[in-house]
């Protein structure tokens, strides 16, 4: 094994790091000021859900620095999944700004990957090109409120072929970004043939957000946050929504496979961004520890604080290696071969990062839960990762069954 970071990665990481330090982190208070008035959950008010000007300024800057669309794995972009991983980590240090500025934020990234993989020319032109340009945004509609969505067979939304159209009926939620006025595209997964074999039962469709029958009911909250600038999280009803068959991604019945393919790189991105959050937390815990004194002793000189810093860094370094390994497996053997490795990081990383952020909050005391510092918001983001794309327990179950299967008699 060779843990050397290659030249190209070092180059991009250095540039991303410089961008972060000189442009993004100083822009955080600007972002806070520009979004300070964004309160409430009114789905009908586009001003709430749009990106503030600072994001567009940073985007121009990122683009000028060659830090644009880096998430797209080679050959479509300059970096492999493994090479992009450290960039994703860096972007996670400022999660509201850096990913968006670099056109590397979920769910657009996953949607662009999907379109790269499965879109035909017309779909590419209509959806992929503007997404890559950053002039369009999109949402992904998979999870449903009425059932345990971690088991795909529970899905109730239907995508019924009807002549030259398909017709969608059902309710989705946690459609992140769907409230943003820039969001023009909903990629929707639904059951097209309930009698088909499980893997051929579902279909994925590109639905323009303004299609009749699409109705956004409300914006969900994540702990007390609505994540306005990210376009929120929507509950969306599809009531007899009719789109042409040409809106189907890939083909009828290919939805399950496409959904699977979409998840791999995204989980690496999520995990690396989470690691970036925790790494920033550890560093700022250390800074804070030199500034606070209790009972006549700097926090930095207190044993419990030292243990927290040491323990957090070890856990983080181990978690990062596991993610890098999964990324390498994707690059070298393909997403399918990396399936279990990706489940492993899904299970290990968010929990690890949650624990570290919990320590950070504790060390920062009452300041730790308020929004003047990023920890509370980061905490809720990684807490949610333990549920998103299936709760940890479903993945652990799957990993455990794989271990057990290897030992199965005959």
């Amino acid at each position: 094994m060779d843990f050397t970071v290659d030249e190209r990665t070092r180059d991009y990481a250095a540039r991303a790091s410089a961008f972060l330090t000189t442009a993004v982190l100083p822009a955080e208070p600007v972002f806070a000021a520009q979004t300070a008035g964004r309160v409430g959950a009114d789905p009908a008010d586009p001003a709430l859900w749009t990106r503030p000007p600072i994001v567009h300024e940073l985007a121009a800057e990122a683009r000028a620095r060659g830090l644009w669309n880096l998430f797209l794995p080679a050959p479509h972009g300059p970096l492999t999944v493994g090479q992009y991983a450290p960039i994703a980590e860096l972007s996670g240090r400022s999660p509201h700004l850096a990913p968006a500025a670099m056109n590397c934020s979920a769910p657009d990234t996953g949607n662009m990957e999907l379109l790269q993989l499965a879109a035909d020319d017309r779909q590419r032109e209509r959806w992929l090109t503007p997404l890559l340009e950053g002039t369009l945004r999109s949402a992904f509609c998979m999870t449903e409120p009425a059932v345990a969505s971690s088991d795909a067979l529970n899905m109730r939304t239907t995508i019924r072929p009807d002549g030259a159209s398909v017709v969608l009926d059902g309710t989705k939620w946690w459609s992140t970004g769907a409230l943003a006025p820039e969001c023009g595209l909903l990629i929707v997964l639904g059951v097209s043939d309930p009698q088909a074999a499980p893997r051929e039962r579902m279909t994925m469709v590109c639905v323009p957000r303004d299609t009749p029958g699409v109705r956004i009911e409300r914006a969900l909250s994540v702990f007390g946050y609505h994540e306005h600038a990210a376009g929120g999280h929507a509950v969306i009803h599809f009531e007899g929504v009719r789109v042409p068959r040409a809106a189907v991604l890939g083909e009828l019945g290919a939805g399950a496979q496409l959904a699977q393919a979409r998840l791999g790189p995204g989980r690496v991105h999520h995990c690396m961004r989470a690691i970036g959050m925790a790494q920033r937390a550890v560093e700022q815990m250390a800074e804070r520890a030199w500034q606070r004194e209790t009972f006549g002793e700097l926090l930095a000189d207190q044993g419990v604080v030292q243990q927290w810093c040491g323990q957090s860094q070890v856990e983080l370094d181990a978690a990062r290696l596991l993610v890098q390994h999964a990324a390498w497996l994707m690059d070298s053997a393909g997403n399918r071969a990396a399936h279990r490795a990706i489940q492993q990081i899904k299970v290990l990383v968010p929990g690890t990062v949650q624990t570290i952020l919990d320590r950070a909050i504790q060390l920062f005391g009452a300041a730790g839960v308020d929004d003047a510092l990023p920890w509370a918001s980061m905490f809720t983001a990684v807490r949610t990762l333990r549920i998103a794309d299936g709760p940890d327990e479903v993945h652990l179950r799957s990993l455990g069954r794989a271990v057990l299967r290897s030992a199965r008699p005959d």
Copy 2:
């Protein structure tokens, strides 16, 4: 030992339980509707921070049912600390409504205890009577942003005697309830004599909120929540605030002792309410488990869910006994004798409840972090308890040093 619940407690608990079931829980959606428009953190907008009508309706109902001011320990109220504990637990099941409806919500309760203990007749008439009537609300101003407040010797706010007045200068934060328009009283702790012995260095003063020089800078957030109906959490500047010496509680130099006395019953209340939250969570986890199916199996039939339910209930039952024991010690031997027992519950209960609520969120999946269910908000409340009144680590340190002291060679 006799774990029998006495007749009086059973009676009050039965009434509180009936009140909860028939009045409070059905009012939760009303509360949600009445506060739905409360967004943002504008300290200047009183409409944001006042109690909605449903609280007043419930208060009338609670009063009619004899469930009013029960927190006041006998002989001032009908119940001992230990007898009130199960009532506090019940009220924690609906933390936004039940404590307020019963005039049993922090920080008013602690302030009323303080006034009961140390106020002179004029102070009682001006402040205690309307607080007991529920026509006035109050805040407690102790924690400061610039220092580690868990070490009281770090305190920087000064309360300088000046002729017939005392003059306050300094900044406090996490003054819960201070933004409510009904809040007329701030009880402030500050240094009156920096040269005095530690225990005589501080003084506590009753400051009318409209006194010149009192300036509320901003409302703090708790994981994105502003807790509007509770009157928020304020950053307050005291700039040359002058009040008459008669506003001093007890006497000059008595602040530290009063602060200590204030904490005891309040911690029991906080812990029991937290246990009530967790108990409700366990029960609703169990309900949910019969409604959801994954991979062909009800959650209720899945081993991990069974372990979570079993484990949570055991941890909860042990934690509850520890709190009841601390309450009994307060009743039978006094708050001072119960000092360590109170530190113990401060350290054990919020962490235990946080873990259980984390499980609840996990079991409820994506619904668990949204506000249509109470778990996310409860989670942030108990997470904050691990910091409030000193972080766990400070109390563990104190408890550990007590253990060590017992073994100290001569």
Copy 3:
């Protein structure tokens, strides 16, 4: 609730404490010296498995001090289960000596309870009287090597009625005490009617250890220990073992119920002794912390050590209350009503104590794993408790299902 310790308990506890301090603890090195030559696992060598002289000396002393057979719940002994609990805790501080000296050691205690409950006059005279006198010892044969014994329906040993006899066939293991030469009685549980309803399928029989067909195969080890003075843990084969029907305890088919009845008080005893181990560990951790210095600082002044001491004591105090509560429930409502409370302590206490002993070992460093100190041996004892009488997971499952059942629709 009234947590006052009653007069009788205080009296017995004071005497037990004095016995421990003045007689038992000073005898520990004598016990170590007298058993130092006991090595190996030869089941045929009685000298290995007998109690050393010091136990008999202490027994005489305990009897003289009125500390004999205290485990027997009133009205058969002077103490209720709850009153005996603190005595059991004290005895756990010296687990190899104190319980044996007071004729309060498992499995004899459970067997005496069984005989008290279900033996007829002849059985009482033959078995119970000498057990109470301490002139006989006994083993309990339930667990089997070939199956998961936590599910009683897996049991394979048969107790076949045959005329005026019953005939036993099968293999038992973890029959503690069975290798002691003083052990004259094996109480064996087996299937007497495989067609009967589950609760009537089993029977319990008193088998003299020297009955033909009883064959001890080997002595098991517990992490390297053979627990010689306790009579070891035996694998026992029953091959056509014939005893008269009069040897049946209670009646044919009553075995399951008797087994259930046996477990209650025993679990309280086990848990309280485990708490005694941990309490001693905490106290000696504190002593040690004043004697060791690293990096220029006494351990007692180091934050991590303080946290360990504080945390351990809190966990211990909560665990102890849970056990006392279960004991009170047994005393006031009976073993059956206390069933879940007993499962709760079974699940909470050994794990808690294991964690505390793990900390003790860590604090004592390399000395902590060697036998000159009691921690390693205690650790293995409580680790084993997490498996004995069914692994924690089986009890958690049962507790969880009870929680779930309460929420079951219709």
Copy 4:
């Protein structure tokens, strides 16, 4: 980063794996039989502490297969630290046999590394050559009973230069292997100049075990085990032990540096062997899960078992990568540059493996603590690793302080 396992490593690993499967694992019952009579802790009985014949047979076999002394890092052996790591893991699956058979067992390996590094020609000939041949064994005497040895400045053993000799006085313990009759060499660390700077205060000396004044007091136990075939763990007194100055390793005052150098690869070996133990445990947990049934369901179908298997494998895979990374750093940047990486694995791996072995014991039930299965013995070995070479807390403190130092103002 490139996680590809190189050709040479794959080759050696395949051979080691074949050796394990075809020779070592089948020899485990032979080893058990040949050492079954080894009981007690008599330091004077060499038969107790010698390797049984099967080890020598396996050693011949290992040598014939080219699996001898592989631990010696290139250029002295065929493999780098990183390449040897997977071999060490494989050897850990049978910890009593495989490392010894391959002449790769501690403490001989560390001692050979030391001699390779610092021995002069005569020392090499006398000690290194026979150690490499496997005809000699050795012990390392560093830890002391009277002080906290994790702080080297506490050391009390003196190595006083006296003319052409040095004279040793002091007591060491946990000198693993010292009781073996094959053990001819003790490498001893002591204070040669208490006035010197800390890093020049100590000296390391090669002491023939039969030197007058060397007295083995007793054999220590590890949770009831004496690890006879490994030569036990000795308490050794050095009373006026005189050896020629030529016995000094390196030079006077070089002891601290040599001790530091010795630890690096050894910690990688320890950690990889521990991972091998856990990996075997996970695999056998899975096997067992198909053989046991409770409550009508195979363990393999039970959720908790699935979680344990999944969780264990994830933790193991992350831990293994962290060790591989540390090994790579040693290979590519040297032991000193890898210092913190080595502390990290010291802190992460044994705790992780302990947790997994604890699960294994739980899953195997009562069988899990008995010696017919390897888990109990493995558990005690990794538990001890959390103390050996300094307790985890000392390393966490050091790691934490390094994190904090990076953030130190100016």
